[in-house]
Symmetry: C2
Subunit: 213 residues, 2 copies
């Protein structure tokens, strides 16, 4: 059982974008940050339900396949589920429509817990106020020996990294500079200790960097 | 003729360290940031004058060889020459002793110009107060068709990057998180426009990333 993190970041370290406007609710940066990942055949199949076989099949796609493999429970922050934007709506069911691409129990960390939401495809969102250690214990239990992913965003992930709870950190570094957003790497001096760090470059120019124990 | 930048940075983007103390005048971070570069055969020959043939000969060394090739003039900030620490000493001749590894004219940007310093090996330090464009014109003239390097530090380099004066930017990204220092990437949103970005991973785990026009 492995505790994993997988994130897309820019060369200047931004993992969450902050250029959203009412006219452009996702901003322009998010699409550029995730461009190589969204272009993969695996993303198109798993998230867009496009079974035409379209999409890239190189190094980026190999990481996209690994992204979905073996994860049996997920933890995410309230912002990633959409509670910062939609928390006042008791009917909010996340960004992903009726086919969320998780297929496993997802534990959403929030100071305002709400009833669980279950989907036909196996995705169940649970809401809890918990420390990283407590949330990981819940998710580990639910995963029954499978892997647990800390999904994001960076503000949620950092305490898990600092507490030494993450076994494998994979960052896909897009070769772009955003100059704004929320950084993954703040206050993580010395994180590399105890990990082996490897890197591989994809055809898209994305650098896949992995910290593994 | 190419205007070049070559820098060692950490994964969290720090190009200059700030952990110097009177007891440890270079700090502990600088050695870790430059470890893979200092280990190369080329660095040992060119900077340490070690002709024993010791040192690594892989990808890092190929970049170290390229570092020294074709550069016919260099521009650096006052801090890189040592004027922030030693500016009150009129006899200060730089950090590098009597064999500075440049062998070409070096233009040091400072608000307090001083007389030029010439070394037997071809290195000449000139001191000038100038805009990036003016300094580059001086260095280009001195280079007589050879390449010009903007040597550092990041605070000196950033205005040259912002002004679109750099043809090739090579960063050697050490797989470590320093958590402190001076960042290269601040306020460089969109720098990648107009460049092709490529990356290559060395045996040391260093990721060599190149922005080329």
């Amino acid at each position: 059982m492995t505790v994993r993190v997988d994130l897309n970041i820019s060369l200047d370290g931004f993992a969450t974008t902050t250029d959203q406007t009412p006219e452009n609710p996702f901003g322009e940066d998010w699409g550029r940050l995730t461009e190589a990942y969204v272009a993969t055949r695996t993303f198109r199949e798993r998230v867009l339900h496009d079974t035409s076989g379209a999409g890239t099949t190189g190094v980026d796609d190999a990481y996209a396949q690994a992204y979905f493999a073996d994860v049996a429970a997920e933890i995410m922050g309230a912002g990633m589920f959409g509670l910062h934007a939609h928390g006042d709506d008791p009917g909010w069911r996340g960004w992903w429509g009726e086919e969320p691409p998780f297929h496993v129990p997802v534990f959403v960390l929030t100071h305002r817990p709400r009833p669980s939401i279950e989907f036909a495809n196996g995705t169940v969102f649970h809401f809890l106020e918990a420390s990283p250690e407590e949330a990981l214990a819940r998710a580990t239990d639910a995963a029954s020996g499978g892997d647990v992913r800390i999904g994001g965003g960076p503000t949620t992930i950092r305490p898990f990294l600092k507490a030494g709870l993450v076994d494998r950190l994979h960052v896909a570094i897009a070769p772009i500079l955003l100059g704004r957003g929320i950084r993954l790497w703040d206050e993580l001096r010395g994180l590399e200790a105890g990990y082996t760090v490897t890197a591989e470059t994809a055809e898209s120019g994305t650098v896949h960097l992995t910290f593994a124990r």
